[in-house]
Amino acid sequence: MQAKSWKLLPGLRGSLVALALAAPAAGAATDEAALEVLNPIAVMEVQRVVQVPRLRTLDGKRVLLYSNAKINSDVAVREIQTHLAQRFPTAQFRIVAGTGWAPEPKFYDELMAWKPEAIIASTAD
């Protein structure tokens, strides 16, 4: 049995109603039918980011704790700072309260101005 493609009437293209009209009556068709459709999926292209090596220790490091303004994110980062300060007494800490919105580039410049060596962020979501 040879496969055959089916087509709608050109004037009825793109309509759910047309689709129903173009279909043979139930049980009428016995030939093998085929339908070929285009793939709707896009491609993305992006430069891979080569991340810097991780730290050996947090001892003596500048650790920035970032709260993204979600409720309790500030609670979380303050608690993390308390624990880390006990474990790494020579580390320096700074808490920054940010925004849940998409930030402007200057936001990153402001964070980087403190020259953080590690950043801990809370929370998603």
Partner: protein, 464 residues
């Protein structure tokens, strides 16, 4: 948060994020879409926002070793270069019908065979939904012939790139690929230039489009069309223009295509990047229009003319909206009564009681209300918008009831508290927060959509 951490990694700082487990897929996928293949994070079992502060503290303490480890454990090696990937639904994700299948993403076309038309058609419907490539409603099969017919709706080459990074997943949107979505949504070639302009508008919103497409709130684009194209393309500006109904078939097809573009090109798949907690029917399609003749009768300026376009231009405008309200107008035939009702409604949750950028909206006025307002001296849309904006109000006492301190006080709350005057009241918002449209039939029913941020208008002539 993934994008912020990824941006900081790109600037050379090791990071670790705390992620609620339901958002881990979103976190990883978002990082990948900006080229960060291994974004360190620890997973919390519950969203911190929904826990008492003491439980947040206890959970953080449990995760401390892991947080330290993520900052000090070497990452897998990554070679520099271009990462090329298809936008996917993250196969393996659990859905109500089972596990999401990974579709044949690398095949340019997909062939279904069966014993008869019905079997083949059923296969197409079933598989496209199983692969996550639809909005849940039946799709029109995007055959080559139908896509070619759709492409007749524009003079632009099928290979024209509208954007090389539609957010949130940064998919490349070509005219051809948008045509595939348009066919699936049931659009016709005469709608296609509007659809392309809508896609351009979504891209032109910029980084804030993430807020529309990738959030736990039911945010969605609202589009409206102005100019001669409204009548040329059969776009409904009258009764029930936002649908449903056959009168609004063009509106629905355009809006539905926009949603499929957001999904299959922008990657805003539910559970992958669209993290909407409950969802909203508005997200299927939300397209309306203003009618030039109606506006001329009222003496009101079309929206696009107020933004510097010529009356003969055809445009589509996108804004972000989150929910809507209805003003029945029953018993309030006075003009000011209608406007005060709208102002009061916008003042509720999500208005001044929310955040600064949410204190506004798109006000859609019906024929009868528009005439009542005109007779009462509101002879311009601007005068109506100014009146509504000046009567939006908030009260600190109410605000603290809603966003009080029991679960902790976020930076949002701090910012918002600073906006109340010494009497604990906010009186009015910027008139720019209110956009007035003349939409719908000749009856006294009006609607408004909250927020209305990121307004972006595109000239449809660029895509004809």
């Amino acid at each position: 948060m993934a994008r912020k951490n990824a941006a900081l990694e790109e600037r050379g700082v090791p990071t670790v994020g705390i992620v609620f487990n339901a958002f881990e897929m979103d976190f990883n996928s978002s990082a990948r879409s900006v080229g960060v293949l291994h974004l360190p994070h620890v997973v919390a079992p519950r969203a911190y926002a929904s826990l008492p502060p003491e439980e947040v503290k206890a959970d953080v303490a449990k995760r401390l070793d892991e947080i330290i480890a993520r900052l000090t454990t070497p990452l897998p090696k990554v070679e520099p270069g271009v990462l090329v990937e298809k936008i996917t639904t993250q196969a393996g994700h659990q859905a109500p019908w089972g596990t999401v299948e990974l579709g044949p993403i690398d095949q340019p076309s997909i062939r279904f065979t069966g014993t008869d038309y019905a079997a083949v058609h059923d296969q197409f419907q079933q598989k496209f939904l199983d692969w996550g490539w639809g909005d849940g409603m039946p799709l029109i099969p995007p055959t080559k012939e139908r896509v070619e017919a759709m492409l007749m709706g524009t003079s632009r080459s099928p290979d024209t790139v509208l954007t090389n990074a539609l957010l949130p997943a940064r998919g490349i949107a070509t005219v051809r690929l948008v045509a595939v979505q348009a066919v699936m949504a049931g659009a016709r070639p005469e709608h296609f230039s509007v659809i392309l302009a809508a896609t351009q508008a979504m891209a032109n919103v910029g980084p804030d489009f993430i807020i529309i497409a990738q959030t736990t709130s039911p945010m969605t684009p609202l589009f409206w069309v102005n100019g001669p194209i409204v009548r040329e393309a059969g776009i409904n500006s009258g009764m029930g223009s936002l649908g449903p109904g056959t009168q609004s078939r063009a509106n629905i097809a355009i809006g539905r295509t926009a949603r499929l573009v957001m999904m299959n090109i922008g990657g805003a798949y539910l559970g992958t990047k669209d993290m909407d907690t409950i969802g909203a029917a508005d997200k299927f399609s939300l397209v309306t229009a203003e009618d030039d003749e109606e506006l001329a009768d009222l003496g009101w300026q079309p929206y696009h003319v107020s933004k510097g376009f010529k009356a003969t231009d055809s445009t589509i405008t996108i804004v972000n909206v989150v929910d809507h309200g209805h003003v029945a107008g029953m018993g309030t035939p006075e003009a000011e009564g209608v406007l005060l009702e709208i102002a009061d409604d916008i003042s509720k949750v999500g208005g001044v009681g929310g955040f600064e950028r949410m204190s506004g909206g798109i006000v859609m006025l019906s024929g009868d209300t528009s005439r009542i307002l005109t007779r009462a001296g509101f002879t311009t849309k601007e005068s109506i918008g100014n009146y509504i904006a000046s009567h939006i109000h908030g009260h600190k006492e109410t605000y603290l009831k809603w966003y009080g301190h029991e679960r902790g006080k976020s930076a949002y709350v701090e910012t918002e508290l600073a906006r109340f005057d010494e009497d604990g009241v906010i009186r009015g918002v910027s008139p720019q927060n209110i956009t007035v449209l003349r939409v719908g039939a000749h009856a006294g029913k009006d609607e408004f959509y909250r927020h209305g941020n990121y307004a972006t208008t595109v000239n449809i002539a660029d895509w004809k």
